[in-house]
């Protein structure tokens, strides 16, 4: 089970879906959700000085409406400016190959395609999680 997860997604309904799916699949007991990339960046700034509540894994939406930058830029900033070795990746309804390539370049470790039936993908992610944590798993797209 993942110790704690941060979800960055502008769609509040998806927060509920993700929370229930994570609980039902025993993925985590501790989930924090924020609605914008700016909010997430603020949290990472705070965790840079006090990492005790820092999440173990971060799921970022690709297009976060209401944010000043997108999910790929957030991952780049987390990896370069607040580099603290969290498992990080994209969760998006898009499966655009160009965007997937860009995400991999900035250090995303996975890409989960959001759909009505998200549970099987999260289950596969949960099975691979330990390999993500010890950095032995290559970039994977869960379609």
């Amino acid at each position: 089970m993942i110790n704690s997860i941060l979800l960055v997604d502008d769609e509040n309904l998806f927060h509920l879906v993700f929370e229930d799916a994570c609980s039902l699949l025993d993925i985590t007991l501790s989930l924090q959700s924020v609605s914008s990339a700016d909010e997430a960046e603020k949290l990472f700034k705070a965790w840079a000085t006090n990492p005790s509540t820092r999440p173990e894994c971060v799921f970022v939406d690709l297009n976060i409406i209401g944010s000043t930058f997108d999910g790929i830029e957030l991952i780049r900033r987390i990896n370069t400016m607040y580099g603290n070795g969290v498992v990080i990746g994209i969760i998006s309804s898009s499966a655009d190959q160009d965007e997937i390539g860009k995400a991999a370049l900035v250090g995303a470790q996975f890409w989960i395609v959001k759909s009505d039936d998200i549970e099987p993908r999260l289950e596969r992610f949960r099975e691979d999680y330990s390999k993500y944590a010890d950095k032995t798993q290559s970039f994977t797209v869960y379609k």
Partner: protein, 184 residues
């Protein structure tokens, strides 16, 4: 995490009396050495899972409905935009037709005026020619009414010229007024 035995008993009683159980992820963190509370925790976890499943289904339905509504709103916006464009095009076409009709009406009016003027001028010229010929005939035939016909010719010619200029003036005035209206 472990509860005091009294708390465990109270929770078991609450579940038995009113079917109220612990909820949420907290259940997974609670442990007990007593089998009755372990059974209670299992029931609470099953209840929680069932509720979460139901909530997940409802949330997914709402999410799908929201997406459909968004799609329909976009489609509606697109149709409204097309309708607006069609209305604008119809308005332009209507304006063009009105202009064409106006031009056509004016042309018909000018043609009518032109015909009237042409006929009037031919009548004036005809009368002038006939009266002049009568005057010449009277002069060469030595008629005693030569002076009278001369005066009549002079008067008639004056009247004909006045009328001609009056008609031409009226036509020029109408034409000028029409041009001013067009410019406005």
């Amino acid at each position: 995490m472990k509860f005091h035995r009294e708390t465990e008993m109270e929770l078991i009683a609450l579940a038995a009396d009113r079917s109220i159980f612990l909820e949420g992820n907290l259940i997974r963190l609670v442990e007990s050495e007593y089998t009755d509370f372990q059974t209670y925790l299992k029931s609470a976890l099953d209840n929680d899972k069932e509720k979460r499943k139901q909530r997940l289904e409802v949330t997914k339905q709402v999410q799908t409905q929201n997406k459909d509504l968004e799609k329909k709103a976009k489609e509606n916006d697109r149709l409204m935009s097309e309708l607006k464009e069609a209305l604008e095009a119809a308005e332009v076409a209507k304006q063009r037709i009105e202009n064409d009709l106006d031009v056509l009406q004016r042309r018909t009016q000018f043609e009518l005026i032109g015909n009237i003027v042409q006929i009037a001028l031919w009548v004036i010229v005809g009368v002038g020619v006939v009266v002049t010929l009568m005057y010449f005939f009277a002069m060469y035939s030595g008629s005693s009414e030569k002076t009278l016909i001369g005066n009549t010719w002079s008067n008639l010619f004056g009247i004909l010229l006045t009328n001609s200029f009056s008609i031409i003036g009226t036509i020029m005035g109408v034409k000028y007024a029409s041009e001013q209206k067009d410019q406005k």
